[in-house]
């Protein structure tokens, strides 16, 4: 088990990681989900030993790692960039960690070729990384990480620099590849909640260097503990609609759980998919984004900026007026402190 306790990293007085406490079981894939700058890469690099935390401990099966240099840590890592050794061919690239670990060259080459076959690069073992496409280069990096058979595998947004179709295909391939890594703790950093829902056994939400929630992907998605968590776990981000409650009222129909709210200021978090076209509220279109087969329409409604998600391509122009319906009963209520209210 990989255990992290009280991990903290300050850079120029700013906390890049703060009070990180988490446990990761072997054979599980945990998605570290957070927006850009949330601290995902910093956390991965701290685990790998590429940066030294100011406080806290990293333990694998009870053994402390914090003082070990990166090359002595049983970790494999794939980064956002396609990192390979430009002076070595693909086979030698993948064999590199094995040779470093003292495996005989012939055996290392054979194991490297087997790993390359698993990622679909059996025919390219003699090529240099520079002769491969970006996707193929990243497959080489993945093969190099897998062949090491390290107890901890860190995948830091490995497909972020690939195009959409390739990313989808690779994600599925990676799930298949990782299915056989039974004893490995796999941490997968991502900014995409869909990836987390699709891939992870567990999800850890990171914001401003802190863990804001963890649990099973479905639970976290259905019941974000705070507005910050709701923002991280929803893409497009959840629509915050501030409101004020005077007097105790029962909002039993609101959200998925019955709640009773005392007087105070609140925010109703409404998912973009819970706003539909064809309703009574007249909203003005400010921007339309078509992503694949979906349309995200940015709206202005009574001074509120909202995003509506539709499962079809609908072309609208800025300034158009569209009638919308808000499924308020699906909303999540958060208190003034940003925490889930009335749960």
């Amino acid at each position: 088990m990989l255990k992290i306790t009280d991990l903290e990293l300050l850079v120029g007085g700013v906390a890049h990681l703060a009070a990180i406490n988490a446990s990761f079981q072997p054979g599980t894939l945990t998605t570290i989900l957070g927006r850009t700058g949330a601290g995902k890469t910093t956390l991965m690099r701290a685990i790998a030993g590429l940066i030294a935390p100011d406080r806290g401990q990293i333990l694998l099966d009870g053994t402390g790692w914090t003082r070990l240099p990166p090359w002595k840590r049983p970790v494999a890592m794939v980064t956002q960039q396609f990192i390979n050794y430009p002076h070595l061919n693909v086979r030698d690239n993948v064999a590199f960690p094995l040779v470093r670990a003292g495996v005989a060259k012939a055996d290392a080459a054979a194991r490297a070729e087997a790993a390359l076959a698993r990622v679909g690069l059996a025919a390219m073992v003699d090529r240099r990384p520079s002769a491969l496409s970006g996707g193929q280069q990243q497959r080489v990096a993945i093969a190099r990480a897998l062949v090491k058979k390290a107890p901890v595998l860190l995948l830091d947004e490995p497909f972020v620099n690939l195009d959409y179709n390739l990313r989808e295909a690779f994600r599925k391939d990676l799930v298949d590849l990782l299915a056989v890594e039974t004893g490995t703790v796999v941490l997968y950093a991502s900014t995409d909640p869909r990836e987390a829902l699709q891939m992870g056994d567990q999800i850890v939400l990171l914001a401003d260097g802190r863990i804001v929630q963890s649990g099973s992907p479905r639970d976290v998605f259905a019941n974000p503990a705070s507005l910050t968590a709701a923002r991280v776990v929803n893409d497009p981000p959840i629509n915050p609609i501030p409101f004020h409650q005077n007097g105790v009222a029962d909002f039993g129909a609101l959200g998925q759980q019955a709640i009773t709210l005392p007087s105070g200021a609140y925010t109703l978090g409404l998912r973009a998919s819970d706003i539909r076209a064809g309703g009574p509220h007249q909203a003005r279109v400010t921007l339309t984004e078509v992503t694949g087969s979906e349309t995200l329409t940015h709206l202005s409604l009574n001074g509120l900026d909202l995003v509506m998600q539709e499962k079809s391509v609908v072309l609208r122009s800025p300034g158009d007026v569209v009638g919308v319906h808000l499924d308020l009963h699906k909303g999540l209520v958060f208190g003034a402190d940003g925490q889930r209210a009335g749960v």
Binding site: P70, W71, Y85, L88, P97, A101, A141
Partner: protein, 288 residues
């Protein structure tokens, strides 16, 4: 119309022929003559000079000494230059300081530098022997013993040209991508292993270039030997260039020194070509 483009090349070609080809062709012609202090002119004597050269043990000894001197100095320069470049590679302040500091020996005129070193090596008046004595190492007959004189030439050459290696290799190190170093750390390679598995192979092409440039320059060594030892004691530090200079300019055997020069040129071209191919095969992965 298409062929007229060659007309535009003609002036440049003529200059090239004049400055390169003519001296070479003239030297070839001179090498087949008996031109010396008594019989100046291009009197044809066939391959007599080349026959004499073949039996000239002093020439071949000078060539062997030159080979030893070149290989020794360039290897030391490479190792020292690489070590110094690695030391300051990651340190910006040190890099700036050493880059300026190390330019000084390179900017020094070889003759001036050799005079300075001759003073330093002076066995009774120079500062080196007292320093060695104070350190308990003992004085050395720097310029009066064959072995020590050879060592003195090596030291001066290394002192003057290590900065060249340093600057070339530092430029190479600074051009290396950072990503493979990150990968090497993750893949279990410590600093020493990273050097041999990542830094050294990635600097292969630059290393070959630097070594070859220095070998070409070292094979022409003349000023240092002339000022520092005059080829002595005896002929113990005499190199090919210096021997050719003695035969040509001191003994005025123009025909014979032309034959010596041409032979030397051919040997150097062949040797450096072979060395270049071997170095590329050994150090540059793309050539494999």
């Amino acid at each position: 119309m298409y062929r007229q483009k060659y007309l535009f090349l003609l002036p440049g070609l003529l200059v090239l022929v004049a400055i390169i080809l003519f001296p070479l062709l003239f030297t070839i012609r001179v090498s087949f003559s008996s031109w010396d202090v008594y019989n100046p002119g291009l009197n044809w004597i066939g391959g007599e000079n080349y026959g004499r050269l073949w039996e000239d043990a002093r020439y071949w000894q000078a060539l062997g000494r030159l080979t030893l001197l070149s290989v020794t100095t360039v290897l030391i320069q490479y190792v020292l230059g690489f070590a110094l470049a690695l030391m300051v590679w990651r340190d910006l302040a040190a890099r700036r300081l050493f880059r300026v500091l190390f330019l000084i020996p390179m900017m020094t005129t070889p003759v001036v530098m050799s005079v300075l070193w001759r003073t330093i090596f002076h066995e009774s008046l120079g500062p080196l022997n007292p320093i060695l004595e104070s350190l308990g190492i003992g004085a050395a007959p720097w310029l009066s013993s064959a072995g020590w004189a050879f060592a003195a030439v090596v030291i001066v050459e290394v002192w003057q040209w290590t900065p060249f290696m340093f600057l070339l290799l530092l430029a190479g190190l600074l051009s290396l991508p950072n990503e493979p170093y990150l990968a090497a750390k993750i893949d279990g390679a410590g600093p020493v292993r990273t050097f041999f598995s990542v830094t050294f192979p990635m600097l292969g092409a630059i290393s070959v270039g630097a070594i070859l440039i220095r070998l070409i320059e070292a094979s022409k060594i003349m000023e240092t030997v002339y000022v520092l030892t005059s080829g002595g004691p005896g002929t113990s530090t005499e190199t090919s260039s210096y021997y050719i200079y003695i035969r040509g300019m001191r003994d005025f055997q123009i025909g014979y020194s032309a034959a010596l020069s041409l032979t030397y040129l051919i040997i150097m071209i062949v040797a450096l070509t072979v060395i270049a191919k071997l170095l590329v095969r050994a150090l540059v992965k793309d050539a494999a």
